[in-house]
C-alpha cells in the first residue's frame, strides 16, 4: 500500500518567487533567502555538526539557486524539494571527504562524549543527542532530519532521498529504533535533566 499523495501536478508555493529571481528581481532574491536560508542552514548544521561548514554549504546551495532560477521548469518537483536535495548532496560530499581524510590520517575516532564546555545540563542533552544522531547510518540520519526537523511531508522527504515512501518509512523506523537504543541508558537521565 502506498502511503503518499496521489500522483498529479506538483503545486509549488515558491514558483512565482523563483520565476522573479530568474528574471533578476532583487527583492525576490531577498524574499527567497528569508524563506529558506534558516531551514537550509539548520539542515546543514545538523548534518555536519559544524557551523562554518554549514554556512559554506548554505552559500553553495544559494549560488546554485542563482544559477538555476532562470532555467527552473515548473511541474517536475517542488523548488523546496530540489533545494533540500542540493543541500543533502553537498553535505554528503563533505561527510564522504571527511571520512576519507580521517581514514588517511588514521587518527583516533571522534569521541562521542560531549565536549568539556557542554557542562550545563541543556548543553549536555544537546551534545549527547547530537552524538547519537551522528552515530546513525547516514541515510537513516538524513531521513530523520528531513522528517523531524525540516518538517517535510513524507512524499517530499522521499523525493529528496530518491526513495519510495515505503523505503523512507523503513529508514525512519530503523533510525528511530537505533536512536532509542543509543540513548536507552540516557533517556531517563536526560529527560530528568531536561525537566
Amino acid at each position: 500500500m502506498a502511503h503518499g499523495r496521489p500522483a498529479g501536478p506538483v503545486e509549488d508555493p515558491d514558483l512565482d518567487l523563483v520565476r522573479r529571481v530568474g528574471a533578476g528581481d532583487g527583492p525576490a532574491c531577498a524574499a527567497l533567502v528569508d524563506r529558506h536560508l534558516s531551514r537550509i542552514l539548520g539542515l546543514a548544521g545538523r548534518m555536519l555538526g559544524n557551523r562554518a561548514e554549514a554556512e559554506e554549504v548554505a552559500q553553495e546551495v544559494f549560488l546554485r539557486v542563482w544559477q538555476q532560477a532562470g532555467r527552473w521548469r515548473a511541474g517536475e518537483a517542488r523548488f523546496s524539494t530540489w533545494l533540500h536535495r542540493v543541500a543533502v548532496n553537498l553535505c554528503q560530499d563533505r561527510l564522504r571527504r571527511r571520512r576519507e581524510t580521517s581514514l588517511e590520517a588514521a587518527g583516533d575516532p571522534p569521541s562521542p562524549d560531549p565536549p568539556p564546555e557542554a557542562a550545563l545540563q541543556r548543553d549536555a542533552v544537546v551534545a549527547r543527542v547530537g552524538a547519537a544522531l551522528r552515530q546513525l547510518p547516514e541515510r537513516q540520519r538524513t531521513a530523520i532530519l528531513l522528517s523531524h526537523y525540516q518538517e517535510l511531508g513524507n512524499v517530499e522527504a522521499a523525493a529528496v532521498l530518491g526513495v519510495s515512501v515505503e523505503a523512507l518509512e523503513s529508514l525512519l523506523a530503523r533510525g528511530r529504533r537505533r536512536l532509542k537504543e543509543l540513548l536507552a541508558g540516557d533517556v531517563g537521565d536526560l529527560m530528568g535533566e531536561w525537566r
Partner: protein, 147 residues
C-alpha cells in the same frame, strides 16, 4: 474517512514519532481519530514521546546577518543566463512535450535555419546602423545638445 487499524498506526508512530504534525498528511485525520478512541494507540504515542523530546532539544543554527548578506551578494554576482541558453531550454521543453527526439531533431533543424536567416537579417541591420542616415540623425542630436 477510512478507519485506520492499529498496525498501520503503530508503523506511523514508529517512523514519524509521536507528533501528529509529522504524520503523513493523507492519513493524519484517520490516525488522530484512532488515537482519540484507542488506549493502545495512546500507549504507542506515549512510548514514542521521549525520543521526540530529545530530538526537539537539539536547536537549529540561526543564520547571521553576515551570512544573509554573503548569500545575497552571490545573487548580485551571478552570471546571467544567456538568451541562447534560454532558447535552448525552451526548445528542449517544447520537444519533450510534443514527442521526443525525432521532433526535437526537426525543431533543431528548423531553429538552425531560422538562426541563419535571423543572423543574416541582424547583420544587415548592424550594417545599416552606420548608414549615412543614422549618422545624420546622431549629428542632429549632438547639435541639439549644444543649444
Amino acid at each position: 474517512m477510512t478507519r485506520m487499524d492499529l498496525k498501520r498506526f503503530a508503523a506511523i508512530v514508529e517512523s514519524y514519532g509521536a507528533g501528529p504534525a509529522h504524520w503523513p498528511e493523507a492519513e493524519r485525520t484517520a490516525a488522530e481519530a484512532l488515537l482519540l478512541e484507542s488506549p493502545e494507540a495512546q500507549a504507542l504515542v506515549a512510548a514514542a514521546k521521549p525520543v521526540d523530546r530529545l530530538l526537539d532539544a537539539v536547536p537549529a543554527l540561526l543564520p547571521s546577518s553576515d551570512l544573509r548578506a554573503a548569500v545575497l551578494a552571490g545573487a548580485a554576482r551571478r552570471p546571467r543566463v544567456s538568451l541562447r541558453a534560454r532558447l535552448a531550454d525552451a526548445w528542449r521543453e517544447l520537444a519533450g512535450e510534443l514527442g521526443g527526439w525525432r521532433l526535437a531533431g526537426s525543431v533543431l533543424a528548423a531553429s538552425l535555419v531560422l538562426g541563419v536567416l535571423t543572423g543574416g537579417l541582424l547583420s544587415g541591420l548592424a550594417a545599416s546602423e552606420t548608414s549615412p542616415d543614422l549618422l545624420q540623425l546622431a549629428l542632429l542630436d549632438d547639435r541639439a545638445a549644444e543649444y
